[in-house]
Symmetry: C4
Subunit: 203 residues, 4 copies
């Protein structure tokens, strides 16, 4: 198996990390303690306070899912592996596993008057994730791991897009120091665009 599909085990490993990262998100949503709830109205109120947590949950879930789909598609282009490819993927997974932290931060602080740190950190982590994609696609190019000619072209595109994303998200992180809300809207629109683009593509 190892020889026929050298990337299969790495792929399964990455999928495991993505699946767990997605599912772990739920542990931040806790039901209201029954001792603090006396009436039906109080229970409704307590549930309404969970709104931001549920919002952060859905957001993190969507972001990790979109990243998984990209990862899934990228691996289609590759049929060999190398030491630096494995570790570049490890670095990318590190940023995926970390993602729920800045997302929860944004969910908690976006609508307060101290939203700046949350949005700055969110876009910084996304910029670091872009570095992950640069390393992964760079390893494919350097070690010639791509499947065929078409794949080589697509990997080159992914590598260039990684640099574009790094510059864009670094800039957004910087500007968010002054205009957090505006940058949050821009970031959300970028994700929506990605999702729409990703939905149209065959997987």
């Amino acid at each position: 198996m190892a020889d026929a599909h050298p990337t299969t085990r790495l792929e399964a490993f990455c999928d495991g990390v993505f699946a767990i990262a997605l599912t772990l998100l739920i542990i931040d949503i806790r039901i209201p303690a029954s001792e603090q709830v006396g009436t039906t109205r109080e229970l409704w109120l307590a549930l309404r306070h969970l709104g931001p947590s549920v919002f952060a949950f859905v957001l993190s879930f969507a972001v990790i899912l979109i990243t998984w789909v990209n990862h899934h598609r990228f691996f289609r282009l590759v049929n060999k592996s190398s030491g630096s490819f494995v570790y570049a993927n490890g670095f990318l997974l590190l940023t995926v596993v970390f993602m729920p932290f800045p997302t929860a931060l944004v969910g908690e602080y976006l609508l307060t008057d101290h939203a700046a740190p949350a949005v700055v950190i969110y876009n910084s982590v996304t910029a670091v994730q872009a570095v992950g994609w640069i390393l992964v696609s760079g390893a494919v190019q350097r070690n010639r791991l791509a499947k065929d000619e078409t794949s080589i072209v697509l990997v080159r595109d992914a590598h260039r897009n990684g640099y574009v994303a790094l510059v864009v998200y670094s800039l957004l992180a910087f500007i968010a120091l002054w205009f957090p809300l505006a940058i949050a809207i821009v970031t959300a629109m970028l994700w929506a665009y990605w999702l729409a683009f990703s939905l149209r593509t065959n997987a």
Copy 2:
């Protein structure tokens, strides 16, 4: 592998999410702290207080397991994939991962006199899960992903059942505002029916 079985990796990914969602349920059950327990009788009492948590655990486990079996069987009908199929599955998984929350809510509040919010939310989430099934089976129909003629018919049935479930659970959620206990019993009977039906079928 990707070309021969385009749905294999998606399937494995979904299975991972189901398996983790099932197993994570246990972290809500904590042993009584030894500082608060002085005698054997006190330990028995402390353990009895865990009753509702254990009940919610078994309930959530059963519901996610039945959903997994359905998902498992549905994937037998499909042998191609598409962007919207992948994202429709992602949406379905979102509802699966979320399920332990309303189940724990029902386990905690069903026998109090403010059970209505718990049962309303439980049936609402189930209605949203029905939307997930509508999207998944709709994507199979739209993008012609079914394996053969028999599968096409079964997917059409699943699509129609999704709409039926959406209407039924929305109605149940609405009525539960006034009669939470009665609706809880109806919901439990629907699951028992599903389980019995599912047990008879070959998998």
Copy 3:
């Protein structure tokens, strides 16, 4: 894939649950908070207080691992699947996922003078797990899922052993009401025997 190996996906699903159950055990071991530790001696003391948790962790890990190995070997005998086989496995997994709870209970309370509830519950859960094995092996017999003649004999043995285990652990649970420590030693010896037996076998 589904047709060639109808049990592959169920097997992978079960493995996922076992792997997560094993790994989740670590979240009960927390490092001492640095605010409460002023000197090196205090840190050593705080770490010594973690002894019972670490002991329960190793114990749960060993028990789930041995159960996984048994499950792994049992699946070698089976090459077909059925509705009741899937749900019987689901029931068995429920007991596996639950196992860390009674194990932690034993780890916490065994050396106090109110150990009885812990040992009673531990052996009761093991008895329920025996029911899981009875259901799983029973489904294989009823639906004729065994691979060949040798497998049929081994499944019959497993079915009978399930009943023996059910009777033995129920008795142990009952006797533990009066003699918890003695029963704990008997239970540990049974596991040690299982491990020794399991180590000798080829997997």
Copy 4:
């Protein structure tokens, strides 16, 4: 499948444990509670306090990832399985799952004046992990599970390296009783060396 690739299921199981161990690390990083944060400056301060946690997260992630890559490569040398091989792997996984505990300990206490217990325990656990590698490679030798002549030589090397690591880390643990900081630097350098070595190798 079992006969053609007797180690496939064990490999997938181990991968699952590694993937979960990696991903679970994130649950130790919690966002600051919004009730305790009144201004943007306070949020930045609260986030800076998370520094050691994030550092321990990255460290644990790197260590488990490197161990996974070693495990991944080791399994390439093996194409048969045995009872003692399975349990030796189980023991190795136990140490992998436990690793985040001493790593978090080091992250929390390294820069205090009571760092000794943290560094001693860290190197002790690494020494126990070396025992895991000795058991795994020993089982391969004893039960003749290696794939071919080259693999036999590489497994013999791994076995000898296990003993070297056991001696080295035991010594480091002992010396750390008096010079924790110096030993922490030596340990970090050993990991960096491993990573550099591992990156150069084809996987």
